[in-house]
Symmetry: C3
Amino acid sequence: MNAEVVTSDGVGEAFRLLDLTGVFANALLGGLIARREKLDPIGFATLAVLSGLGGGLLRDVLLQHGTPIALTDYAYLLTALAGAATSYLTTVEGPVWDRMWPLLDAVALGCWACTGAQKTLAVGLGWLPAVLLGVVTAVGGGAVRDVVLRRIPGILGGNTLYATAAILAAGAQVALARAGTTVGGSLVGLVLGAGVCMLARWRGWILPSADAWSPARVVPVRYRAKLRRRRDNDHPRQRRQP
Amino acid sequence: MNAEVVTSDGVGEAFRLLDLTGVFANALLGGLIARREKLDPIGFATLAVLSGLGGGLLRDVLLQHGTPIALTDYAYLLTALAGAATSYLTTVEGPVWDRMWPLLDAVALGCWACTGAQKTLAVGLGWLPAVLLGVVTAVGGGAVRDVVLRRIPGILGGNTLYATAAILAAGAQVALARAGTTVGGSLVGLVLGAGVCMLARWRGWILPSADAWSPARVVPVRYRAKLRRRRDNDHPRQRRQP
Amino acid sequence: MNAEVVTSDGVGEAFRLLDLTGVFANALLGGLIARREKLDPIGFATLAVLSGLGGGLLRDVLLQHGTPIALTDYAYLLTALAGAATSYLTTVEGPVWDRMWPLLDAVALGCWACTGAQKTLAVGLGWLPAVLLGVVTAVGGGAVRDVVLRRIPGILGGNTLYATAAILAAGAQVALARAGTTVGGSLVGLVLGAGVCMLARWRGWILPSADAWSPARVVPVRYRAKLRRRRDNDHPRQRRQP
């Protein structure tokens, strides 16, 4: 019931294929961004590798259990570079692609969350780091790419449930793996993660930002204004930078 | 006299508690920033984990001696998430908190610099990487958080002695550990690091920026202007980006 | 014919010297940037370490084969700090330095690409990760420094052939090492990488950005405009952030 067993049977092989599909889709997406930023082929390859392999690289570096799979299994690097080349040589934009992106993205998210969580369990760590590294695998590559491009990573908020879908997928994987069925966990996690991600995008679901919940909203308005005035006088936005 | 011995006795246990206090305080601080940026719960958790655990994760990834403690010892991740939840559900702002932050921050700085330096020594590395990784442990999490939020990390300059306090704390830890008293090093380092950090904040001590020391200041003004003119003509700010 | 053998003979020692020269040159360059940003000594040291050692640290962390050499071999850290001190205490600008930078930079690029590729081969990985990590070693430090300073890394495009020169150097190292002559690979790779880098800078060679190749250019103009109109109506720049 460890990762090795999974990858040796048919379901494991199917999952590896999904994993690589996610790498290809995210590499294409990296290339799409590279085109908008008018980058050269090196820029396409860099964004494709960061988008497609960044999450898994982060996970493997944090796990500290051997060289990252993206460096030992050629399929990963070649798939990412193929995605970069495809989006450099063709235009992967248009009505059909615009319908495909969310689906590919959601499937990659669910798949990566499950593989990340399962790999963490297989290494002997507990449920909490397994969920964390599942999420890191799923959203880490996009976040690194965003930081390199000087964007605030989308996972920090304001988007539809993305990291939340990854948490659910990784959680399902962990729970069912603990209950004895790793393969079942992967299937349920994939469907749950991809489903919630698609649903949230379709319905526009987002998490409440801090303001909506803030206890400050319950404090009477006049007292609140007084508090804020005092605070602003003492510390005029000292941590804010222009 | 290695890290294991330290953590098995009372002083070590006290230090672990300080360490976790630092994680909690920095996670709260991460949450405070998340509130100002109007992030959702995922954003709070992300900034709390980066602020509270980022330095230790960086250190352990650079040391390459097993899975980072933040992933194996549940207390760390749970403490960071508790900090995120606390600052999401309550407002940790106001006069009392404004007085607490500098103290908590300074204690975490001193504590992390000592644990980082000591862990590096325990792994068999020398004094120079021990001081470096002590500083990375103390300031790395905040720096990563700043980069993710598209701020220039505060440690790069213009602030009161922060990294300098970490260097002093890590240096004291290394020197006294070499002299035979790891526990003494931790206590002296903690007091020294936290003290210098507090004092510098109180007195407004900063390091001189390069301009203040620049040898160019000694070169006669007319010659300097001529030099600058020639340089500007040859290379009109080629490395600057808008 | 592995890295150990190389570093034990004369050519290996010469290469280590070149490696450290590259560390010093890039640390000076980091200091130059620190001066322009008016940073304090900590800022100088941080940018010097990131610029001079960042690529090797990234490579060693990704390889997961023991503590990074920059932490175990004191020469690296001391050289980087010496570079920081030099550029803090003197002004390494002026006509002579402006002629030196490109040469030092190109030599460091070629040298780092070869050492990165060779170290990856020595660890038992194949040609593809060897070329990738050669490039990461050569350009990673500068990229990390740029991200920390909120610049879009130069390697993403618009510059003269820089990553391309690193790919050629790493490729030559891998090909000749496979053909039996590691030392020959290092020499050819160094000359090729440094040469292409200098030539590209001199002649202004850049890679074509995506627009120049875009298949969209072959699609008739009227149809293309129609397509773009439809796309913009459906998805008004949804992935762009302000």
